[in-house]
C-alpha cells in the first residue's frame, strides 16, 4: 500500500478508537468530569498518567535533543522520570487522602485562604497553557508533514478530536482514551526503535543497543569507522572528527545539576500530573499507581538514549558527502550498490525544518560542527520558493565563510546543513529506510502523544476555572463558606470552560509563539518554585501557615518568573547569569528561596488554626480516605 494511504488508515483508525471510547465513557457528574468518579484501577491510571505525561516533547523532540546534546541530555531523562519518585513518596498518597478535585483546592483549604487559592489558580492556568502551546506545535508538525494538510487545518482537526472526548467525557473520557493512546504511542515508538537497533547494532532490544557494536562500517567524512566498533566509541570518534565535543562527555556539570533538579521538582509539581492521583480509589492505589506510571514511562525512556545514538550515527552515515541532486531524487548509491534515498531530506526541506547551504560549491552535502548559515543565529531564512542550481531551497542569509578556527577543529569540513531537532524522531524511520507502515505508525504515535497531553492539560485548566475560581471563590457563601453553585451548573461551566480553553489552545496552535522551546522552561521552573514546595510544606510542616505559604509562593514565583523573562525574552546577557546559572535551571534557586522564605515567615507569625492542624494529621494517615469528594 502507498505510504500516504497507510498514514490515513492508521491515523483514521486511532481517531475512531478515541471517539468511540469517549462516547462509551460519558461523564454524568462533576466527580466523573474532574476525577473520573475516583474509581480508576491503578494500572489503568498508571497507563493514562504515562500517556498524559509523555507529550509531543517526549515523543517527537527528546531523542532529537539528546542526539545533538549527547551526555548533557541525561538531565531530561533523569528529571522527567525521577520526579515520579518524589510524587510517589512526598505528594500522591497524601493528596489522595485529602480527597478533593484540584491542586488549588488543596492550597486554598490547607492555607485557609482564598488569596492563596487564587494565586494557585493563576499559576495552574499559566503553566498549563504554556504546555498546551507546545503540544499544538507538535500536532501542527505531524499534520503538515504526514497528512500533507495545511498546519491550520491540522490544528483544527486535532482540536475537534480533543473537543469531542474531553468536553463530553471529562476526566473519565480522557482517562480511558489515554489508555488507548498510550498503547498507540508506545507501539509507534518501540517498533522503529527495534528496527533501528537491529539495523545499526544487530541487537533486538534497543536498551541494549548502546552496549553493542556497529553492524556496518561508515565514513564520517574524515575517516572510515570499521564495522564491529563499539557504538559509543564509533559515535565519539565520528563527532570528534567533525569538530563536536565528545558525545559521552558532560559539559557544564553545575548547570546539568540545576536543570535535573528543576525538571524533577517541576514534574512532581505539575498540576496535570498531580490531579491523576485523585482518580484512584485508595491511598495505597495512589502509591502503586505512581509506580505503574513510571514503569510505562520507562519503557519508552530507557530506549531514548539508544534511539538518539542510532539516529546520530544514521544521520552522519547517510548524508555525509552525498551529492544533493542525486540524493533527493533517489539515484544516490551506497558503496554496496543499494540506493540511499534522500526523499525525506527534500520533504523536510520543503517544510522548512531542514536546509542545505553548499558552502564549498561541490554540490555535495557536508555535515560538521558549526552553523551552516550565517547570521540569524545560524538558522536559514528561506527566500520564498526560490531554488538553486541543484534544486535546493535558497535563503536570504548573508553569504559568509565558515570560521577558520572552526574549520581547523572540523578537519577542514564546513557544516552545510541545518537540522531542526524536532524532526529527528519523525524522520528516523525514513532516514533508516524502514518499511512504509512503520513511518505511518509514527504519525499516529506523534498525534497520540500530543493529543493525550493536550486533553489532560485542558481538563486541568477548565476545572480550575469552573471548580476553583467560580465554585470556591466567586460563588462562595461568605457566611457558611460553602459554594452556592449547583453541581449541574458547575458541570455546565466546566464544559464551557473546556470549550474556551480549546479555542485558546487552537489559536496558539495556529499562531504559535515563536519561542515554544524556551516557554517550556517557564512551565517547569514555575511549577518547581510554586506548587512543589507549597504542597510539600503543607503536608510535612504542620506549623506552616497562610502567611508563610503566600510569601513563599509570591517570592519564589516572581523571582523565577523575572529571571527567566529577563534572560530569555528581554535579551539579558549571558555574562550576567547569577552564579552562571542558565534560565532553564533557575527554578531550583526559586524553589530554595520559596522554602526559606516560607519557613522564616511562618515562624514569625501565628500558627495555623486547630482544625487545619487536625486536617494535616489526618492526611498523613491512609485510613478512611473515602472517595474524592467535592466539599
Amino acid at each position: 500500500m502507498e505510504l500516504q494511504g497507510l498514514i490515513y488508515l492508521f491515523v483514521g483508525i486511532s481517531f475512531a478508537l478515541y471517539i468511540g471510547i469517549a462516547i462509551w465513557s460519558k461523564a454524568g457528574s462533576t466527580k466523573d468530569f474532574y476525577v473520573a468518579g475516583g474509581g480508576v484501577p491503578p494500572i489503568a491510571n498508571g497507563m493514562a498518567t504515562a500517556a498524559d505525561w509523555m507529550s509531543a516533547a517526549s515523543f517527537i523532540s527528546l531523542a532529537g535533543i539528546i542526539a545533538f546534546k549527547g551526555s548533557d541530555g541525561g538531565a531530561y531523562l533523569m528529571g522527567w522520570t525521577g520526579g515520579y519518585v518524589l510524587l510517589a513518596m512526598l505528594l500522591a498518597p497524601y493528596l489522595r487522602k485529602f480527597g478533593k478535585f484540584t491542586v488549588p483546592d488543596f492550597v486554598g483549604d490547607r492555607y485557609y485562604s482564598d488569596l492563596a487559592r487564587t494565586v494557585a489558580v493563576i499559576a495552574v492556568i499559566f503553566i498549563s497553557f504554556t504546555y498546551v502551546a507546545g503540544q499544538m506545535r507538535g500536532v501542527g508538525i505531524v499534520f503538515s508533514r504526514f497528512l500533507q494538510v495545511d498546519v491550520n487545518t491540522g490544528v483544527m482537526i486535532g482540536m475537534g478530536i480533543v473537543f469531542i472526548y474531553s468536553v463530553l467525557g471529562g476526566m473519565k473520557g480522557i482517562t480511558y482514551t489515554q489508555v488507548a493512546q498510550y498503547c498507540v504511542m508506545i507501539f509507534a515508538f518501540t517498533v522503529p526503535a527495534i528496527f533501528l537497533s537491529l539495523q545499526v547494532t544487530d541487537t533486538f532490544l534497543p536498551q541494549l543497543g548502546i552496549f553493542a557494536q556497529t553492524a556496518f562500517a561508515f565514513d564520517d567524512g574524515v575517516k572510515m569507522i570499521p564495522e564491529g566498533t563499539y557504538l559509543m566509541h564509533a559515535l565519539d570518534q565520528a563527532v570528534n572528527d567533525l569538530g563536536f565535543n565528545n558525545y559521552t562527555d558532560p559539559g557544564n556539570i553545575f548547570n546539568m545539576f540545576m536543570l535535573t533538579v528543576v525538571l524533577m521538582a517541576g514534574t512532581a509539581g505539575l498540576p496535570h500530573v498531580i490531579v491523576r492521583f485523585f482518580t484512584v480509589p485508595k491511598v495505597k492505589d495512589a502509591r502503586v499507581s505512581a509506580g505503574w506510571a513510571l514503569v510505562f514511562i520507562a519503557i519508552m525512556y530507557t530506549s531514548i538514549s539508544s534511539v538518539a545514538a542510532f539516529s546520530r550515527v544514521n544521520l552522519i552515515n547517510n548524508v555525509q558527502n552525498v551529492e544533493y541532486a542525486k540524493f533527493v531524487s533517489g539515484s544516490q548509491l551506497r558503496a554496496d550498490g543499494t540506493v540511499n534515498s534522500g526523499a525525506w531530506f527534500k520533504t523536510w526541506e520543503n517544510g522548512g525544518l531542514l536546509a542545505w547551504n553548499d558552502r564549498n560549491g561541490d554540490g555535495k552535502i557536508q555535515y560538521a560542527a558549526g552553523a551552516a548559515f550565517d547570521g540569524a543565529k545560524g538558522k536559514p531564512k528561506f527566500d520564498g520558493e526560490k531554488r538553486g542550481e541543484h534544486g535546493q531551497r535558497l535563503t536570504t542569509n548573508a553569504k559568509g565563510q565558515a570560521e577558520q578556527a572552526q574549520l581547523t577543529k572540523n578537519n577542514g569540513i564546513a557544516n552545510e546543513i541545518y537540522v531542526d531537532r524536532d524532526i529527528m524522531v519523525l524522520a528516523n524511520p525514513e532516514i533508516a529506510h524502514l518499511p512504509n507502515w512503520v513511518i505511518a505508525l509514527m504519525a499516529a504515535g506523534g498525534l497520540a502523544a500530543a493529543l493525550s497531553t493536550a486533553a489532560g492539560l485542558l481538563l486541568v485548566i477548565s476545572s480550575s476555572i469552573s471548580h476553583d475560581l467560580f465554585g470556591q471563590v466567586i460563588y462562595k457563601d461568605k457566611k457558611t463558606g460553602q459554594t452556592t453553585l449547583s453541581e449541574k451548573n458547575e458541570l455546565a461551566l466546566a464544559r464551557a470552560a473546556a470549550v474556551v480553553a480549546i479555542g485558546v489552545a487552537g489559536y496558539l496552535g495556529i499562531n504559535p509563539p515563536g519561542f515554544v522551546a524556551q516557554v517550556v522552561a517557564f512551565a517547569f521552573g514555575l511549577a518547581a518554585a510554586s506548587f512543589f514546595p507549597v504542597i510539600i510544606l503543607g503536608i510535612f510542616d504542620k506549623r506552616m501557615n497562610k502567611e508563610g505559604a503566600i510569601a513563599g509562593m509570591a517570592i519564589g514565583l516572581s523571582f523565577t518568573f523575572i529571571y527567566i523573562a529577563y534572560f530569555v525574552f528581554w535579551g539579558g546577557n549571558k555574562a550576567d547569569y547569577l552564579f552562571g546559572i542558565a534560565p532553564t535551571g533557575i527554578g531550583t534557586i526559586g524553589m530554595i528561596i520559596h522554602f526559606a522564605v516560607a519557613f522564616v515567615v511562618s515562624r514569625a507569625t501565628p500558627p495555623p488554626p486547630k482544625e487545619i492542624q487536625d486536617m494535616v494529621e489526618n492526611i498523613r494517615v491512609p485510613m478512611g480516605a473515602g472517595k474524592a469528594s467535592a466539599h
Binding site: 522520570t81 513518596m89 509506580g291 485510613m623
Partner: protein
C-alpha cells in the same frame, strides 16, 4: 487511632522516605551528574558508567524504588493497622 501511635507511624513513614530518597539522590544527581566524570573512567562494552547512569540506569532504579516504597509502606500500614 490515638495521637501517640499516629506520631510513631509518621516517624516511621518519614524515615522510610528519607532512606529511599537518599538512594534516589545518589543514583541520579550523584552518579549521573556530580560524579559523572569519575564514574566515566569505568567503561562497559564501550558505554561509560556515569553516562549510563544519567541516560538509562537511574530510570531502572527509580522504578524499583517506588515499588520498594509501596511494599515497605504496606508493612508499616499493617503494623499500625491504618490500612483502608
Amino acid at each position: 487511632m490515638d495521637a501517640i501511635k499516629a506520631q510513631e507511624y509518621w516517624k516511621e513513614n518519614i524515615s522510610t522516605i528519607l532512606k529511599l530518597l537518599a538512594v534516589w539522590f545518589i543514583v541520579s544527581l550523584g552518579c549521573g551528574v556530580l560524579f559523572i566524570n569519575q564514574l566515566n573512567m569505568i567503561e562497559i562494552s564501550g558505554v561509560k558508567l556515569g553516562f549510563w547512569f544519567a541516560q538509562q540506569g537511574s530510570i531502572y532504579i527509580f522504578v524499583i524504588l517506588i515499588f520498594v516504597y509501596v511494599s515497605m509502606m504496606k508493612k508499616i500500614d499493617e503494623k499500625y493497622n491504618v490500612d483502608e
